[in-house]
């Protein structure tokens, strides 16, 4: 649509600006302030320059947490995106069963994060859980509280359980917008199932798929509550992701300076990746409407 040039539109944006600035800019400035100061207590701060940043950039603890975080997000995207597409392709197209599937699939999305952790805790514990007990009974040594690999598998399965539906619902919405005529034309051309997917369905889904990848990347990179409830970051530090480490540092040990420097770098990483996604997205969007 043609847009009119009108700087008075700023007045309409003003409420949003005030609300978001209040809850984003002020706290962010506080974080920046902490990141360049050191304290001996009693609110006695002195300038520390970029010391905390240097310390954090070379800290093994941060490297390890970042490594785990990147690995986690990569695994999550590699599983959830193809699985979500696959599920969306198999969903009923309309009628009662379509709504039935939609409602059931949306259910995990609306469960509070800590309850998701609780559900999986109850489900997987070797003493009381269906899965934990079941696996032990058939002779598989499974204990997510002691074994790092088991903990990772459990957290990944939990996240797949929690969020695959989001990808599937987005893809389903994309598929719904394909006119029936496209399929008929493909049938006349005797296109194989694969080429229908590759040349009709995938391009039509690309827009929503990018949104799905963006949302899943952001949220998996910020994941805090579910692993915190399920494993508390353990065993050892094996499932301590960036957010968990950050909260431990800021609230648990009250190391404000390093935590703030850490926060800012964390934020910048997310910002950078999201900016890349966003640019790709809007460019594609512009190409489509041409």
């Amino acid at each position: 649509m043609e847009k009119t040039q009108n700087n008075k539109a700023w007045f309409l944006v003003l409420p949003v600006l005030i609300v978001v600035a209040f809850s984003a800019v002020i706290p962010l400035m506080t974080v920046v302030n902490y990141s360049v100061n050191d304290t001996f207590g009693q609110n006695d701060f002195f300038w520390n320059g970029l010391g905390w940043f240097e310390e954090m950039i070379s800290s093994d603890r941060m490297h390890a947490a970042l490594g785990r975080q990147v690995l986690f997000s990569a695994i999550i995207l590699a599983i959830e995106v193809p699985l979500g597409i696959f599920v969306a392709l198999n969903m009923p197209k309309k009628g009662f069963w379509a709504s039935f599937c939609l409602v059931l699939m949306a259910l995990p999305l609306l469960i509070p994060f800590n309850v998701v952790g609780t559900i999986w805790q109850i489900f997987c514990r070797p003493d009381i859980g269906l899965l934990g007990r079941g696996l032990t009974n058939i002779g598989i040594d499974y204990n997510y509280t002691n074994d790092a690999l088991d903990a990772w598998i459990t957290i990944i399965v939990m996240d797949v359980w929690h969020w695959t539906s989001l990808v599937a619902l987005l893809c389903y919405a994309g598929l719904q917008s394909i006119p029936q005529a496209y399929y008929q034309a493909a049938k006349i051309d005797q296109a194989s199932r694969w080429s229908v997917f590759r040349y009709i369905e995938l391009p039509k889904m690309s827009g929503v798929l990018l949104i799905a990848v963006l949302l899943r990347f952001m949220d998996s990179f910020m994941i805090y509550t579910e692993p915190f409830v399920l494993t508390g970051g353990g065993p050892g530090n094996s499932t301590t992701f960036l957010s968990i480490d950050l909260v431990k540092m800021a609230v648990g040990q009250f190391d404000l300076g390093p935590a703030a420097a850490f926060s800012i770098m964390y934020f910048l990483v997310i910002l950078l990746v999201s900016w890349v996604f966003y640019t790709v997205m809007t460019t594609l969007d512009a190409q489509e409407t041409k």
Binding site: K8, L110, I122, F123, A173, G174
Partner: protein, 268 residues
Amino acid sequence: MMKNRASLITMTIYLLFLLIPIYWLINMSLKTNTEITSTFSLVPNKLTFANYVTILTDPSWYMGYVNSMIYVVLNTLISITVALPAAYAFSRYNFMGDKHLFFWLLTNRMSPPAVFALPFFQLYSSIGLFDTHIAVALAHCLFNVPLAVWILEGFMRGVPKEIDETAYIDGYSFPRFFIRIFMPLVASGIGVAAFFCFMFSWVELLLSRTLTAVNAKSIAATMTRTVSASGMDWGVLAAAGVLTIIPGALVIYFVRNYIAKGFALGRV
């Protein structure tokens, strides 16, 4: 026929995968603690509603639900109210810095709550809003307002501009046009945006736990406290979990026909 059967099997397996953990939670909530720890059964041997009774009669439990509902509704109202005019501006006008502003808004959706937890605590303490519902509602605006603007802008782009112009020619003032004509046109968009605001505010734990202590304590925070205190009361924990699923399930049921459409149009 072959394809349909394969689809049926895939969907059945996937839905079972989604439902079995929930089933186990419900199963646990209907057992006594001794039965949970001593025996292993797929259905409760001795059906008990004692866990639910505990929650529904103890104010420290059920007030958690009330508090959560209050700040979620407040947050949804604030988010939608401020997002509506902004989304209109983004969908209709070019103005100085509009693209930068839009991306800046989105970055707030991307910022990890963990980064903001401590500053929020200090900010709201210093202005005397700590442990109030409005504090949590405002804090959740951080990620819900950008999302609402994003969704609503998508819907508003679909409304032809001629409608605005006709209304102005007919002598409508801007506020009157906006409320009487424009808002009904994007009603489904408002519904979808409200749904997502509700959802993300309802499921968030970290900020709501950091910003509340007693008077506005959310259900999520109540649950974490009870887990650590006095051993593991699995039955009550499971029952509390089941009760948190219910509002979400109700909301989904009411918007089921809009979900797919909302996802596509709203570009969420």
